[in-house]
């Protein structure tokens, strides 16, 4: 299905494109694969970036979002490698969930070097939270309780066991000095989404919530949930600047759930560079900053070689901790 071109946008397009000296010429329309059903985070990444790409005229035609659910992104990953190897008008949405599955070998026979990582345009940072009348009022107190007895605190989160939300607890626990042998004993209950897990925490059925700040924000504002720590390098911008980071509490745990893209391995260096430059420009545009503001995305910007190194590093560290706790052998 192709949609008619929005001709009015071409005027702005020529202005912006002139700034780009690259010899590569992007095709009139592009495609963004969201490796999940409509409505999720990847779908949002594709649709919102796609809109900015056309609004700013980087793509003169239309950026079509194609939903390709399956295997937590594995189907789209395999599709990109095997069927779209040199398609330079294709981007695929990815996030920390993608690197987690790559690290744990859940995309059977595939690894992160089989695609090219373009960049990330924002992140949702991890948080650990409790209900307002919880006995634990700091992350240190919570971790001390776990150190004394690893089954004393029961966590709930929106990802499957071994998924990113579960790993956040373990990353923080490891930094806090919980014994390695005790880490796998920490109880984690998997729910279908962050909100479902928060309800259980607020209702007093579980002790703590692990998830992203975007999931916790509503319940935090209503006063039902107390966020003990945000797993970011620095405090988040206002109005979330009241939440202490884990680092401030001497627990060195950083867990960004970034949102970004990869492209097929076989695209030319010029095409890859075009996407890197474009993502840089999109990130700094007012349009995108507005999208971030409205959707609670936090600053996180890495592109090109820096981003590829970051992805590799994240895959390595997730692999390490997953092996340690016995998720992968």
């Amino acid at each position: 299905m192709k949609f008619p071109v929005a001709k009015t946008l071409i005027a702005t397009a020529t202005l912006t494109l002139a700034a780009q000296a690259s010899a590569f010429e992007q095709s009139r329309t592009a495609e963004c694969i969201a490796p999940a059903n409509p409505g999720g985070g990847w779908d949002f990444t594709c649709r919102s970036v796609g809109k900015v790409l056309t609004d700013l005229g980087y793509i003169s035609g239309n950026v079509q979002t194609v939903n390709m659910p399956g295997a937590g992104g594995g189907v789209a990953f395999a599709h990109t490698i095997s069927k779209r190897g040199d398609d330079s008008a294709l981007i695929v949405a990815a996030s920390t969930a993608t690197t987690t599955r790559l690290a744990q070998g859940q995309f059977v026979g595939m690894d992160q070097d089989m695609v090219r990582w373009v960049g990330a345009l924002g992140a949702d940072y991890g948080v650990i939270a409790v209900s307002k009348d919880s006995p634990y009022q700091t992350l240190t107190a919570l971790m001390d309780a776990l150190k004394a007895d690893p089954v004393s605190v029961k966590f709930g989160g929106g990802s499957a066991a071994g998924g990113w939300d579960h790993l956040k607890v373990l990353i923080a626990g490891r930094s806090a000095g919980i014994e390695k042998a005790n880490l796998p004993k920490v109880k984690y209950l998997a729910f279908n989404g962050g909100a479902e897990a928060i309800t259980q925490v607020v209702g007093g059925h579980l002790d703590a919530f692990t998830g992203d700040i975007s999931e916790a924000q509503g319940f935090m504002e209503s006063g039902d949930l107390k966020v003990l720590a945000v797993l970011s390098e620095e405090r988040l911008p206002a109005p979330l600047d009241g939440i202490p980071t884990a680092r401030e509490q001497n627990i060195d745990a950083v867990a960004p759930n970034w949102r970004g893209f990869y492209v097929p391995k076989g695209v030319s260096d010029e095409a890859y560079q075009w996407w890197v430059d474009t993502v840089d420009n999109v990130y700094s545009s007012d349009n995108w900053q507005d999208v971030m503001q409205k959707n609670g995305l936090m600053p996180f910007h890495k592109t090109g070689a820096e981003f590829s190194t970051f992805v590799k590093g994240q895959v390595e560290s997730i692999k390490e901790i997953s092996t340690e706790i016995g998720l992968i052998k």
Binding site: N37, P38, G39, G40, T65, V66, N67, M68, P69, G70, A71, G72, G74, V75, A78, Q106, F107, V108, V151, K154, A160, A161, G162, G163, K187, L189, A190, F191, N192, G193, A195, E196, T199, Q200, V202, G203, G204, H205, L206, G218, L327
Partner: protein, 509 residues
């Protein structure tokens, strides 16, 4: 007051021109779907789900479209009941009893108009009931822990067969089949793959939308092929409408009584719209007594079941939205829709997605008004649609379903799955095994399993956690009643329903 505020916000969502358009389209499509014999509301909604997805509609618009289809199908069901003596869907069965005799007497237009008004009143009152009751139920939200959820899902399965269900064993077989299909995919409690055989497409399990479309729509197509029902029905004629205010006032009390009874039947899990219309009709007959001429074309005999079944249809939305437990086949399909939109129905829905829920409720009000306005002047068009031969209709339905399914995931494998489920659905229907429990097994199975495992993790393996709170004990009690009652009351109710139908046939013959 708070509820009223939410409702007003809901109207702000429902009254945007775009959503108004979707409500109108849904209402028209729904009426057509309901009117065509065989293509009941569950099928209609099932076919349109993939379409709503592939259009990339926002969640609220998609839901407004589909709830309007649902409401419209309940309206449409009466058209073929009255004109052809063939119920468009099961709940419309009781409307045949007096509707068709009215048509035979040359008062088809009046029967249709009265039933439209009765449907409107039924839906309207039930939606008011939904507005009042749902937030009260939703208040219990935070008290639901894993143990209570497990009891709740058991309740859903216990009441699956319905009070009037004949063969509980076949219902159980169907539910187990659904539960088995649901185990395919990643087990989120441990992160392990189950029955996926390293096929990436299976990692997230079998998509229940595909299963629904296959089981309902494709199996329907196979039945049409088998029956050679290609030529359609004889043309029906319609007289000029001659309805006075007096006629409307005469049926008004009937409508009100039917609505209340229907709503109650709808809210109770396992009862559903068929029972709603049956109860309304029999009660009306008792109340009116000898002065009525039920079975021979009494307008009250048209109004009562129509008010009852529409009220029950909306009443069934109460347990679906607040507890995540569907009371009927169509609400089960709507539940599937919600889950696919990443909206988890259940006690928290009203807090987390307030705007969406109230938008949908407001859309029900708007949709009903649209339906009433559509149904009186446009009835002639709907009647003409009845004479479209299925040989043109069914291929179109299949095409729409297939395109929709392919557009969701762009995977040809999903189309094979759809056909597979179609064959399975055909086989199951031949064996008289109901299809709805299969879907419910697929929908609720993973949730039920997860709740049980969570409960046991929290209690460190102590099973008594499952009945350790007053709430869970209460739910268990209802669940047990749901299992036992069909054996006690079921035969009586079934006999009466059968008797009512026999009587109807004796008139027709």
């Amino acid at each position: 007051m708070e509820t009223l505020n939410f409702l007003l916000q809901g109207f702000a969502v429902a009254l945007t021109p775009e959503n108004l358009m979707f409500a109108a389209i849904g209402a028209i499509l729904g009426t057509v779907i309901g009117a065509l014999p065989g293509l009941g509301p569950a099928n209609g909604v099932a076919i349109l789900i993939p379409l709503a997805f592939s259009l990339g509609l926002p969640a609220s618009s998609a839901l407004i479209l589909l709830t309007s289809v649902y409401a419209g199908a309940m309206y449409g069901g009466r058209i073929s009941s009255i004109l052809l003596n063939i119920p468009g869907d099961e709940p419309a069965m009781m409307t045949c009893l007096d509707g068709y005799p009215m048509a035979l007497k040359g008062r088809a237009a009046e029967a249709l108009a009265i039933s439209a008004i009765a449907s409107f009143i039924g839906s309207l009152l039930a939606t008011v009931g939904l507005v009042i009751l749902a937030p009260i139920l939703a208040k219990f939200a935070l008290r639901f822990g894993p143990a209570e959820y497990f009891a709740l899902f058991t309740l859903a399965f216990a009441t699956l067969g319905g009070i009037t269900g004949k063969n509980q064993v076949k219902t159980v077989v169907a539910a187990c089949l659904g539960l088995m299909i649901a185990t395919v995919g990643v087990d989120i409690t441990t992160g392990n793959q189950r029955y996926t055989y390293d096929i990436l497409e299976l990692y997230e399990g079998v998509d229940f939308i595909i299963a629904i479309v296959g089981l309902f729509a494709i199996s329907e197509l196979l039945f049409f092929i088998e029956m050679h029902a290609g030529e359609g029905f004889k043309k029906v004629s319609l007289n000029k409408l001659n309805l006075s205010m007096k006629d409307i006032i005469q049926v008004l009390p009937t409508c009100l009584r039917g609505s209340v009874l229907g709503f109650i039947a709808g809210v109770l899990p396992g009862a559903g719209a068929s029972l709603g219309s049956f109860l309304s009709y029999t009660m009306e007959k008792k109340i009116v007594g000898k002065s009525g001429y039920f079975g021979e074309g009494d307008p009250r005999g048209v109004a009562a079941p129509e008010a009852g079944n529409n009220a029950a249809a909306n009443g069934a939305l109460v347990p679906m939205l607040t507890l995540g437990v569907p009371g009927s086949g169509t609400t089960a399909v709507l539940l599937a829709m919600l889950i696919s939109l990443n909206i988890q129905p259940g006690p928290m829905l009203f807090t987390q997605n307030a705007e969406l829920v109230w938008g949908v409720i407001a859309a029900l009000f708007v949709g009903n008004l649209i339906l009433l306005l559509l149904n009186i002047p446009m009835i002639g068009i709907f009647v003409k649609l009845l004479s479209i031969p299925p040989k043109y209709l069914m291929p179109v339905v299949t095409l729409v379903a297939s395109v929709g399914i392919f557009a969701i995931s762009n995977s040809p494998l999903d189309l094979y799955f759809m056909i597979g489920f179609g064959l399975l659905g055909y086989l199951l229907r031949k064996l008289h095994i109901p299809l709805v429990p299969v879907i419910l097994g697929m929908l609720l199975g993973p949730e039920m399993e997860k709740s049980l495992r969570h409960a046991l993790t929290i209690s460190d393996g102590d099973w008594t956690i499952l009945w350790s709170s007053g709430l869970s004990v209460g739910i268990w009690a209802v669940a047990i009643a749901g299992l036992v009652l069909p054996y006690l009351i079921g035969p009586v109710l079934r006999r009466r329903m059968a008797a009512a139908q026999d009587k109807d046939h004796s008139i027709v013959d």
